[in-house]
Structures are given as structure tokens and as C-alpha cells.
Symmetry: C3
Subunit: 210 residues, 3 copies
């Protein structure tokens, strides 16, 4: 647990920061910052713990709530100094996604022993924070962006599981998963990396209107 | 369990297919297909198991994850052959709703023994997959469509509970619930069946603007 | 429990009524009323119980489901008599938020013993019903309204926890929390109370377009 906890704290604090940045974009008040930061920071891990059937982490250790609160306040008082809040949001989100994804895979593997479940856990919890944030703030979901996003979380979780299975130590396996997820998502942000997206063949599949 | 499991597998696989079809309409990449298929296929059952306080089905049996993944890949490689992906999505959703609704009622009754809880379980889990899919994909929710939708899930769940209470065997009671839900939803899709919708009396209740 | 249960019933029934009013604004059918009323009335408490790791209240006591159903039916047959359904929705939502917030804090404190967790529980469960309602009905979320909303739930939960910590009896502490939350939210509705909202300094922070 000792070394994996770093990724947990990183994921929670950075997702909280993206929630607060989203609140700043919507010009909410300080409590709105607190609320979005808390949900974004702890939402993914809450679902992870519920699904795994273990006690929810922030109910066991309320310190996490304070981390989110302090992060929200910090963003509230400094966000006006930034040149582009949305750009920072995307980059913090990238690091949080990588950290949360690895920790999700770690905890999933620890609790269930199933590599498949662990990968799904990492993929879902790495992306859920951003989903909750975007749905609550009424922003177009980061999920629907064309550049690689879910894939980065999945690659990180998968790498962690493979590295752990190959016998690497926990700190090393975590670092491998984290760097792979972050590298892929960074490439996507910096160079617009995409996977081939599904395209209906022209003339064969006319747009269906709901 | 033996015969009810058919409805479970049917619901999971077909909801997964509708998630993948939704991904194709949004032109996501293969991982986006996987993600939407997994959430749509397993989301309703996950909430059901959490609320009932039993271990989440796909954590116990990771095979469900593979079913969703295979379904997503299948849709990815064949969806361009379809003439109307949205029409197929609606019909698969109808079968999934009926199957998932019956299995939700079955499991709710099995765990709690309360027919009321069982009906609510069936109604909610039959519709949650579609709700998650539409919210995540940013589509107008199927819930808000005018033709009968939630009512079909409820009727199916209620019929199953009544049939089981009347002493029918499990396969028979499940079939009754499934066919009633599917029949009602099919009629709604084919003939536009609706229940009388709420209408404010003209002149009495001017449109309130939020 | 005896006196706190009043706040629980109040919160469930009134949130159910706001769900039904939202259904009337969307001109859904009677089952749509039932569905939105049930989710809005019981959604926040369901998340609360899951996170606290206690059995979900309406699975233990299905009477809550009937309360939501009766409320939905009542609204279905009387909503056309109202002059402004949205105005009533907002006021019922205010009372429900206060009641649910206090009961959430009460139950959070009872189960975990942590005041911090209790405040977060009250804040979240007081606002979740409205969030679910607005997301499902596709309305702009009440969260994003400029007047004080989350803050009212938080103030009520905090007051309850402080009052209980100061040794007040349960009925008295509950009443204090309830009245403070309701007072703040009422002031917001009646006089447009706001907290200072975050504003980017002009010229320093150009609008970022996603």
C-alpha cells in the first residue's frame, strides 16, 4: 500500500483541482468550487470501492475530504492568474487519469485477484471523475473528444496488471502503468493523437436522425 | 438460477450492442465502443447488485466483461453494413429492456422477498442501461421519448412477480414477464403506442420559464 | 431515530413531488411521473446508504416506494390547478433539501462518528435528488443557478453537526439544522441571495473555448 498511496493522493488532489477549474469556468461561488472538487476528486474512487465491496475510502479516512477542500480553495484564489484554465484543466486531468487508473487497477487486483476486473476498474475509475465533472457542470464530456482518452486509462491499467503479473515490484509496476497512461494522453493532447474512429461508409449508411 | 440466466446474458449482450451502436453514431474509436458497451451492458445490473447488497455480478464472474468486449468488437466491424443503426439500436434496446427487467425483478424477489422492491428493481434496471448510454453519449434520453418505455419495463417486472406469486415455474414466469414487456415496447415502436401524457389545461397553466 | 424520521419522510415525499412536477413540465405519462418521483425521492438516500455501507433504506422498508408512488399520483391529478409549477417545484425542493440534508448528516454521524463525513453526507444527499431529477429530465441543473443552493445544504448539515456536538437533543439539533438550511435557501429564492461568484479578471483571463 505504502507506495501506491502516492498515486491515490495524486489522483484525488488533481481531479479535485480540475473540478475546481471547471467551477471557475462556470463562475460558481466558493461552495460550488468545493462541491465540484469533492465529487470529481472522490467520485471515481467511491464507485470503485462500492463495486469492489470494500468500505468507501473517504468514509474510512476523512482526510481525503480536507485534501479536496484545500485544493478547491487554492484554485479559487489563484485561478485568475492563469492564462488558460481549460488548458490546465486538460493537463491536470491527464495526470489524474494516469494516477487514478493505476491505483484503480492496483486495488481491483488486490481485492478480486482477477486481471480482467482490475483493468476494467482502472479504466473506469480513471475516467469517471472527469465524467462526473462534465455531466454536473453541463460541459460537453471529455469522453467525446476525438483524441485518445479512455484508451490512455486502459493502456495504463493494462500495463500495470501485466507488469505486476511479470513480477515487478509494486513501485516499479505502478510507475510503468502511470508513465504509459500519461505518455499516451500527453501525446494525444500535444499532437492530437487519435485511434481510427468509426466511420460509416459514404452512400451505404445514411445518417439516421433520432 | 439456471433458466433465468438466459435473460441475464441476453440483457447484458444486447445492451452492450446498443452501447456500441451509440458509439458508432458518435464515430468513437474502438476503445470508445468498448467503454460504452461495457457501461451500457453492465451498468444497470451493477446498480441492482449494489442496492440489493449482494456482490456485483461481473466482479464475481468476469466473463461478463468479455461478453461486452466481444459484442463491442462485433458491432465495430459490422455496423457499416446496417441500413439504420438507430432503428436497430431501438429494437435491441427493447429486447434488452424486457430481459433485464425480468431478471432484475427475479433477483430482487430472490434477495429481498418483497414484491414491491422486485418491481422497482425490474423497472429501474431495465431502463438504467439506456439512461447511462444516452447520458454518456450526450444523446436525448430514450426516457423522454413519447412512446411507452418505462411502462414496458414496469409491466414486465410486475407480470413476472404476479406470475411467480401465482405459482408458475421460473421459466414460465420469466417468459410471461419477458413477452409482456417486449410486446408492449414493440407495439410502442411499431405503432407509436403512448399512454395519455400529462397536459396542462390551456389558459389555466401558462408555460413557466425556468 | 424517532424524531429524525420526520425529516426523512419529509425529504423523500417532497423530493418525489418535485420529480413529479418535473415530469409534468415534460408532459410525460403517469409511469414517467412515477419513475421521476421515485428516483428523485429515493436517489439521494440510496447513494447515502451505499456509501455508508448500510442496507438501502427502501429495500429494508418498501413503504417508501409507496410514498413516492402516491405522491406522484397526487401531483399527476392536481398539477394543472397550479399557477406556476416551476415556482412550486423550487420551493418544495428547498424544504426537501433542508430535510434531506439534516437527515443525511444525522445518519452519517450515527454510522461513522466523523463530523466531517457527516457534513459531506448532508451536503451531498441534500442536493443529489435535485441533480438526478434535472439530469434525467434534461433540464439545466439547479446546481448551476446563481442563487445559493449547495451552500444552504452545507450550512444546514454543519449546523446540525455543531448543535449535536454541543449537546443539544436530537429534535432540537435537527430543527436548528433544518431551519438554517431552509432559511438560507428561502432567502435565496425570495431575494436572490448569492455568494460572491468567481469572476476572471477582465483582460487577464480570456475566455477559453473548449
Amino acid at each position: 500500500m505504502n507506495s501506491a498511496i502516492v498515486f491515490d493522493l495524486l489522483g484525488v488532489a488533481l481531479f479535485a483541482a480540475t473540478g475546481a477549474l471547471s467551477a471557475s469556468r462556470k463562475e460558481l461561488d466558493i461552495i460550488g468550487f468545493l462541491f465540484l472538487a469533492t465529487i470529481t476528486g472522490m467520485g471515481g474512487g467511491t464507485v470503485r470501492d462500492l463495486v469492489l465491496g470494500v468500505p468507501v475510502f473517504w468514509v474510512v479516512q476523512p482526510l481525503y475530504i480536507l485534501i479536496c477542500a484545500v485544493t478547491a480553495a487554492g484554485v479559487y484564489f489563484t485561478a485568475h492568474l492563469l492564462e488558460s484554465r481549460y488548458r490546465l484543466l486538460l493537463w491536470l486531468d491527464a495526470v489524474a487519469l494516469a494516477a487514478y487508473g493505476v491505483f484503480g487497477a492496483y486495488k481491483g487486483l488486490l481485492v478480486t485477484g482477477s486481471p480482467t476486473v482490475a483493468v476494467v476498474m482502472g479504466m473506469m475509475t480513471g475516467t469517471l471523475g472527469g465524467i462526473f465533472r462534465d455531466v454536473l457542470a453541463g460541459e460537453p464530456s471529455v469522453l467525446m473528444r476525438k483524441e485518445v482518452y479512455i484508451s490512455a486509462a486502459m493502456a495504463g491499467a493494462l500495463s500495470y496488471v501485466l507488469a505486476a503479473g511479470a513480477g515487478l515490484t509494486l513501485p516499479l509496476a505502478s510507475a510503468v502503468g502511470f508513465l504509459i497512461a500519461l505518455g499516451i494522453r500527453s501525446g494525444a493532447l500535444a499532437y492530437g493523437w487519435t485511434l481510427p474512429s468509426y466511420k460509416a461508409r459514404p452512400g451505404r449508411n445514411p445518417e439516421d436522425i433520432p
